[in-house]
């Protein structure tokens, strides 16, 4: 099966993928790879640490649908994703 991130990783000289990967699907689902832990969790704001900074996701009725050691999935009405 085709894996987008793996394909990109296979391309040489691209080191940006080493930090974290975020995929926003239609503003309804946000998939994150490489998080380092939650810093805030509420239905309007979910934020987490990543290598070299912090990501803040703002929206409405958001639920953390999945949380593992380095991946997470946010489901809800995602309005904004900011990296600090």
């Amino acid at each position: 099966m085709f894996n987008f991130f793996d394909e990109i990783k296979n391309i040489k000289n691209i080191s940006v993928l080493e930090k974290y990967n975020i995929v926003n699907i239609s503003g309804q689902l946000l998939y994150v790879e490489g998080h380092l832990g939650l810093t805030n969790l509420s239905r309007e704001n979910i934020s987490f640490r990543v290598k070299g900074g912090r990501i803040v996701v703002e929206g409405e009725n958001m639920i953390l649908a999945e949380l593992s050691e380095n991946t997470l999935k946010i489901v809800g009405n995602i309005k904004k994703v900011e990296a600090f």
């Binding site: 309804q28 832990g37 939650l38 810093t39 805030n40 969790l41 509420s42 239905r43 409405e60 009725n61 639920i63 953390l64 649908a65 999945e66 949380l67 593992s68 050691e69 489901v75 809800g76 009405n77």
Partner: protein, 387 residues
């Protein structure tokens, strides 16, 4: 709205995946969730309040999650199981329920194929219980499949001549038997009885409808005599049995009697009496005021009863009553009491009079012998004596 849709999608997915929802209460929840997520994958994390959050874990991780929560001093508010697997597991664990359902199902299937009851309808002369027991004898098996209703119908018709039509059907678990009885005229049955006289008397009127008369007007008959025989002689001279029908009236006599003796003795109580009583327990005399009776002539009565209403102690009290009596000798001639004795005899005869009956004649006879006179009062009435 969107959120609700998303939740619905997720929850239906969870039903299949079989997860357990855990609600926890703790401070600094983000930190606690990070600790948990390092070892367990968490799903549907929802922070309802500042200190309260819920999440789901796969069933395989439940034990580990509980251990981690305990280690990190996180309070568990509730643990709810979800998913088909959980329900199946519960069902499998409920062996008692499953086995009883299976047993009940088997029993139901078996008993549904059996006939439990025989219902007989439409009988008038035939006895329902007799028919029912006959049908029961005909059944080789109680299984519906082995019951031949046609054979039962034939057997019933063969057994009972009175049945003109019969239908046998299995309805549910009942064998329904509908019977139509044939009307058999009495002439065909042929067991007629003659009309007999119910009283002694002289026949005054005869109205024959059917049968052969054995009496005529003016004949004296006694109670039980045959009045009409249950047959006729037809034009060929052959005897043919018929149900006798007739209206036969006769003058019948009713008697009443009284008697009188010129010398009579009778015992009367003087009004003086003496009462004593005796109390006993289990037959042992406890108290008694019984004294010697001083009356020369007396009558004596005795009665026993419980001393108290509650029978904690079965105390019995016995009452003895002595009544003083005297002998009265009377000497009256019949002529002194004649009218009274005749009336007494008449009243004794009137007792036998039926409602609305008209007395045709009244007479009486007086017979005396050895100081005793008997009065016989005779009432002559017209009565239907047979028919």
């Amino acid at each position: 709205m969107k959120r609700k849709k998303t939740e619905r999608k997720i929850s239906s997915k969870n039903k299949i995946q079989s997860r357990t929802k855990i609600t926890i209460k703790s401070l600094n929840q983000e930190k606690k969730l990070n600790i948990l997520s390092k070892q367990i994958k968490l799903f549907q994390i929802d922070r309802r309040e500042k200190n309260i959050a819920s999440f789901e874990v796969e069933d395989g991780d439940l034990k580990k999650t509980k251990k981690l929560l305990l280690e990190n001093k996180i309070e568990i508010l509730s643990v709810e199981e979800h998913g088909i697997k959980k329900h199946l597991k519960k069902l499998i664990l409920s062996w008692g329920l499953i086995s009883s359902i299976v047993l009940v199902s088997i029993f139901y299937c078996l008993q549904y194929n059996l006939v439990w009851q025989i219902d007989v309808a439409g009988t008038e002369v035939l006895s329902q219980s007799e028919v029912s027991s006959f049908v029961e004898e005909q059944l080789s098996s109680r299984f519906k499949g082995k019951i031949d209703t046609k054979n039962i119908e034939i057997a019933l018709k063969d057994k009972y001549e009175r049945i003109s039509a019969v239908s046998v059907a299995i309805v549910g678990q009942t064998l329904k038997i509908n019977i139509s009885e044939a009307y058999i005229p009495d002439e065909m049955l042929g067991n007629f009885k003659p009309i007999c006289s119910q009283y002694d008397g002289i026949i005054t009127k005869v109205n024959l409808v059917q049968g052969t008369l054995t009496v005529k007007v003016g004949d004296i008959v006694r109670k039980g005599d045959v009045l009409v025989e249950p047959y006729i002689i037809d034009t060929d001279g052959e005897k043919r049995e018929v149900k006798p029908e007739a209206s036969i009236e006769a003058d019948v006599w009713i008697f009443g009697e009284s008697s009188h003796s010129e010398f009579s003795r009778r015992i009367e109580r003087t009004g003086e009496k003496k009462e004593f009583s005796e109390v006993s327990l289990f037959g042992l005399k406890i108290y008694s005021n019984v004294k010697n009776n001083t009356f020369e002539h007396f009558e004596y009565e005795e009665r026993e009863e419980n001393l108290t209403k509650n029978l904690i102690l079965p105390l019995k009290v016995k009452h003895y009553t002595y009544y003083e009596t005297t002998e009265i000798v009377e000497n009256k001639t019949f002529s002194e009491v004649q009218e009274q004795k005749i009336e007494e005899a008449r009243q004794n005869a009137l007792i036998y009079l039926q409602e609305s009956e008209i007395i045709k004649r009244e007479t009486y006879t007086i017979q005396s012998a050895a100081g005793t006179t008997n009065v016989t009062y005779i009432l002559t009435l017209s009565r239907e004596i047979g028919g």
